[in-house]
């Protein structure tokens, strides 16, 4: 009888410790999850800023200026445009 009680006590003790460990593990994972979510938000912000930067670099006014001034490009006169007829599908 006493032996069984001792066994049960040990089992109960082990369970209690396991619960504590599991709880701690869950919290650690949760903190990590939170950190990743914060990172996600930060990356979203950065993505927005990069999009902004891209739009600024790819602005039509800037492209036109570079094309005209630095690369000396100009729209082709209509007579030099060859129109292709799309092949029937």
């Amino acid at each position: 009888m006493a032996r069984l009680n001792l066994l049960l006590l040990l089992v109960a003790l082990a369970c209690a410790l396991a619960t504590v460990a599991a709880n701690h593990g869950a919290r650690k994972l949760f903190t990590e999850f939170e950190r990743e979510q914060t990172r996600m938000r930060e990356l979203e912000v950065e993505y927005g800023q990069l999009q902004l930067e891209q739009s600024t670099w790819a602005g039509h006014a800037r492209i036109e200026k570079i094309a005209r001034e630095r690369l000396a490009m100009r729209p082709p006169p209509p007579a030099r445009v060859v129109q292709m007829e799309a092949a029937p599908r």
């Binding site: 919290r27 949760f30 999009q51 902004l52 891209q54 739009s55 006014a61 060859v82 129109q83 292709m84």
Partner: protein, 572 residues
């Protein structure tokens, strides 16, 4: 003597005393157990709350305002987080050196800073919309009573090119003009909040509940084509400068879907820097300014005359001697013509010929047509300050007014209304509603205003107006058949026609299967030229040519010299 036999261990206590002590101890225990049951079982709400407040926190989850995209997904407006620096003036007792340092960081005047900190209020914004890196430096100073707060700032990478279309937001990130206001409800995000458990180090260890889920602002995809918009903007800017005009506007519509592909106004402003913003720059003229359309209005009268069957395409109309007296007033043609067919009346833009047509029509019918074309009522796209122009009820029209209205005087319209109404000619007589947002499935036919036959005949007439002998040969585009109508209207000033003009051109191309409607309006050109065919038509031609090339619309007219190549069937 043995310890066990010590007489002290064998006291002779009165039985009542020991029982008394036992009962006392037992009673004490019972009291404690009862109290703990009471606290745990009956009064636990209050204590629970007290306990939770020790480790639970409600934190806000911010939501960002949606982006505005053009039809190809390019970003036109985006919010990024910035910081607001605020202070509790009572706590912020800064030394002069500290104040100077703070003012220097925030790029503001020390006196202004001191004035703000001397405020009686509990809370003042020192500076809003501060870049995050600057705010971090401010916080690093560790000044008392100075705090930061997260907020958003809206950026418009295209600057002044789309200012009127997009509008802008205020400091609190709410729309104030343009699409930002028209679609504010959709764009605005709603911040949420949640309850969490934080540990000693301030880290979140457990999510208790979500009190309110955040609603992120929705992205809005406009019908706008950034490339066509840039083209319209820069060509308009050039034309307004060249003709020393007071203002101008361009509208580009997709004839198949009713989408607004571009909308530019001059003068304009940079929405990213609105320091010196005057009312004139803010005006979205295409929507808010009405003008007398003049000759661009004639096709509607002609179309109604065709529709009523009183005239045919080639019905001769005697317009000589270029004058027509109605009641006490006389109307004139700029150049007298002889006998013109109905088509030539439109081609040569004869006021007299149009008035003769209008005489055979009832005022009620004319009003009905103009009304169903959308004149007199705002388009209701949600833009601030949208106006409907003036279209008086038919009962109040006098004969002379009916005559002048037939060629676009005595009525006022906005540029976008004119462009919209021309959709009836570009399509087969029906009027689809305009759309600011991208339309993925072409709408079914809109409300029919004219018959398909009438619309086709009007297209031929409007094409004639652009050809030699018409009023706007400068609207021609190599490779495409173009149709359109010029307008040159005197401006009304204090009830009398002044020596100032509004030059306009509204047209569509390719005439064989119209894809785009472009409307151009130049207000008060004052560099010598003022005819719509000289001022507005070239802008139309450039915008239209560029837009058609951007969209890859096939030529419908052969170029000389003939340069056509058939694509090789394989490999293309």
């Amino acid at each position: 003597m043995k310890f066990a036999s010590s007489p002290i261990l064998n006291p002779r206590l009165a039985p009542g005393r020991s029982r008394f002590v036992v009962i006392l101890l037992l009673g004490g225990f019972l009291l404690l157990i009862g109290r703990s049951f009471h606290l745990q079982g009956f009064q636990n709400d209050y204590l629970q709350k007290k306990g939770e407040s020790r480790y639970e926190r409600v934190i806000e989850i911010s939501a960002t305002r949606g982006r505005i995209l053009d039809r190809h997904g390019d970003v036109l407006a985006v919010s990024t987080p910035v910081k607001a620096i605020w202070a509790i003036p009572e706590d912020a007792r800064l030394k002069p050196a500290e104040a100077r340092q703070l003012a220097g960081l925030l790029d503001m005047d020390v006196r202004e800073l001191n004035r703000k900190l001397a405020s009686e209020r509990d809370f003042v914004f020192v500076k809003r919309q501060v870049p995050p890196d600057v705010a971090a430096k401010v916080v690093a100073l560790g000044l008392p009573g100075i705090h930061e707060q997260k907020e958003y700032r809206r950026y418009y990478p295209s600057g002044d090119v789309m200012a009127h279309m997009l509008g802008f937001t205020g400091v609190a990130d709410e729309g104030q003009e343009g699409v930002e206001l028209a679609m504010n409800g959709l764009l605005t995000g709603k911040p949420g909040s949640r309850r969490v458990i934080k540990d000693r180090r301030g880290q979140i260890v457990e999510d208790v509940e979500s009190i309110q889920a955040p609603r992120e602002g929705k992205d809005v995809t406009l019908a706008l084509d950034a490339k066509i918009q840039y083209l319209a903007h820069s060509l308009l800017k050039q034309a307004v400068g060249e003709h020393k005009a007071r203002a101008g506007g361009v509208v580009v519509l997709d004839a198949r879907t009713g989408e607004v592909l571009a909308l530019a106004n001059m003068p304009t402003y940079n929405p990213n820097n609105r320091v010196r913003l005057a009312g004139a720059q803010l005006r979205n003229r295409a929507f808010t300014d009405t003008f007398e359309p003049g000759s661009t209005f004639k096709p509607f009268t002609a179309a109604l005359a065709l529709e009523k069957g009183k005239f045919r395409f080639d019905t001769p109309i005697q317009t000589a001697p270029g004058r027509l007296t109605i009641g006490a007033a006389t109307i004139h043609d700029a150049h007298p013509h002889g006998v013109l067919t109905l088509a030539e009346v439109i081609q040569k833009s004869s006021n007299v010929g149009t008035a003769i047509m209008a005489r055979t029509l009832s005022a009620e019918d004319m009003w009905q047509t103009f009304n169903s074309l959308g004149f007199g009522t705002p388009l209701k796209l949600g833009f601030p300050g949208e106006v409907g122009g003036r279209l008086r009820p038919a009962k109040s029209w006098r004969p002379i007014e009916q005559a002048t209205m037939s060629y676009g005087h005595g009525i006022s319209v906005t540029l976008i209304q004119m462009a919209h109404a021309y959709l009836t000619f570009a399509r087969d007589g029906d009027l689809v509603p305009l759309s600011l947002t991208r339309v993925d499935a072409p709408p079914l036919a809109g409300a029919t205003v004219f018959s398909g036959q009438t619309a086709r005949e009007m297209r031929v007439m409007l094409e004639m107006a652009v050809q030699p002998g018409g009023t706007a040969p400068k609207a021609q585009i190599p490779g495409y058949r173009v149709a359109g109508k010029t307008g040159t209207a005197h401006k009304l000033e204090n009830g009398a026609y002044a020596d100032k003009y509004v030059s306009s051109f509204i047209g569509f191309a390719p005439a064989s299967d119209p894809r785009l409607v472009v409307a151009v309006m130049i207000d008060e050109p004052s560099a010598g030229k003022h005819y719509g065919g000289d001022v507005a038509a070239p802008v139309f031609a450039q915008v239209m040519a560029g837009a058609l090339r951007t969209l890859g619309v096939a030529h419908d007219q052969l170029l000389k010299p003939l340069l056509m190549a058939k694509a090789v069937k394989e490999g293309v």
